[in-house]
Symmetry: C2
Subunit: 279 residues, 2 copies
Amino acid sequence: MKTVGIVGLGLIGGSLGLELRSQRLRVLGVSRQEQVCEIALRRGIVDVASVNLSLLGEADVIFVCTPLHAIAAMVEKLVPYLSPGTIITDVGSVKAPVLREVMPLWPHFVGGHPMTGTAQQGVNAAQSGLFVNTPYVITPVEETPEDAVEEVGEIARSLGCQLYHCSPEKHDRAVAWISHLPLFVSAALLETCLGETDGEVLQLAQRFASSGFRDTSRVGGGNPVLGEAIAQYNREELLRSLYAYRHSLDGLINTIEQENWQQLNQQLQINEIERSKFL
Amino acid sequence: MKTVGIVGLGLIGGSLGLELRSQRLRVLGVSRQEQVCEIALRRGIVDVASVNLSLLGEADVIFVCTPLHAIAAMVEKLVPYLSPGTIITDVGSVKAPVLREVMPLWPHFVGGHPMTGTAQQGVNAAQSGLFVNTPYVITPVEETPEDAVEEVGEIARSLGCQLYHCSPEKHDRAVAWISHLPLFVSAALLETCLGETDGEVLQLAQRFASSGFRDTSRVGGGNPVLGEAIAQYNREELLRSLYAYRHSLDGLINTIEQENWQQLNQQLQINEIERSKFL
């Protein structure tokens, strides 16, 4: 029977534990907090929980489910406890910088990104079915052992995920377009509206705001820690997407300044048609 | 008993008819299309329907529920049939340009904007309860007769609306922030993502897109005719908001370029806190 280790028992780590235990795998969980270990045990997320990484010495595959900035440091701390064949994988939302840091530390590492989530965080938010029909991206590099890629892919498929393989760079560019750029486009929208200096207009705007504003501003009004981490870790691709966005915005402004309504209408038509391909 | 006329029996005009008839007002409806008149009669939206504006000669209050570009021309066509005291109001989503065009044509005109809607359009989309708890903005100017403002306001309240009064200019600026700017910010996002030239990355982006992209791109992927009309009619305020947005975007890009993570985090924190005031 395979033994799976999970470091970080939050929304993703905890939900992973629930799923893998329901498949009758043995799940060992590590959290920095005793209280989280207790909740994970009580909720049936893990078979054994500990605040000590040494627990994971007997794991065949270890999922590092910490925030982005802690992944490499965690792998470094894990190394002393591992057998040479232990596979480590992560669930970080940016891949190239993680791979660059981790590959020199542990060759049996597979970069992964389960693209799922809820608005909640923490072990209490962990839930069954979180992975069903969501993309799970695996980003092998040249040095990644083939059997490790297969092993992690098999687990991803067992969760009900749609499995994708691509390079870390293409992953980071694709998620910049559909996840990180929208966050900062939305953040700039909020910042701009908050800059209105006429108190009456600002109050009217607050009263009039409805679904259009709610939807467009949602991701820009989310967790600041997540936004900062994305900007730090996917900085290069994010900036690349923001420069392209600024170029599109300038073009749109120019079209409206020139009152080129035919061109505006054409672009909006293309948007309407092409958007369906993303959803 | 008050007699209300409605020109344009689409989503807004039709829903208005349903509500006013349920209050036992007499409702006269005009549409350019015979078929729409028939549907409006069958659905109980109007008491009498016609393709001829002359029907509205006996109305006390007339709601012009046509697209923005047709409002002034419609008022001009109505004038020959009106008594001197007939009140006309509109439901257009931009106010200053409409007021500028219409006030010289008919002094008993009250600019109005019921801020409601659905994704559907047309007489078949008309529904009861569309106005309940939504803002209804009335934008009097210096020449607007006080009794006309009160009359339209009373009807708006009878629909269950939250009634607001402000100048046409403040209305147009407020809706630019929360409705028109989000539309073009969102349109630029779609246009930018569609510009990806690496086919593999574009395809991955399409597969990976989920709720964040769906929400942020929704209004920019909507009806091109509506987007064009907004840009034409609220051009000045829209451009003003787009210039402010470009300034915020440049600041955000600069913060990320400079790796000023503390400032980025602070701005995202402000966004998270202040967003709740809009919803």
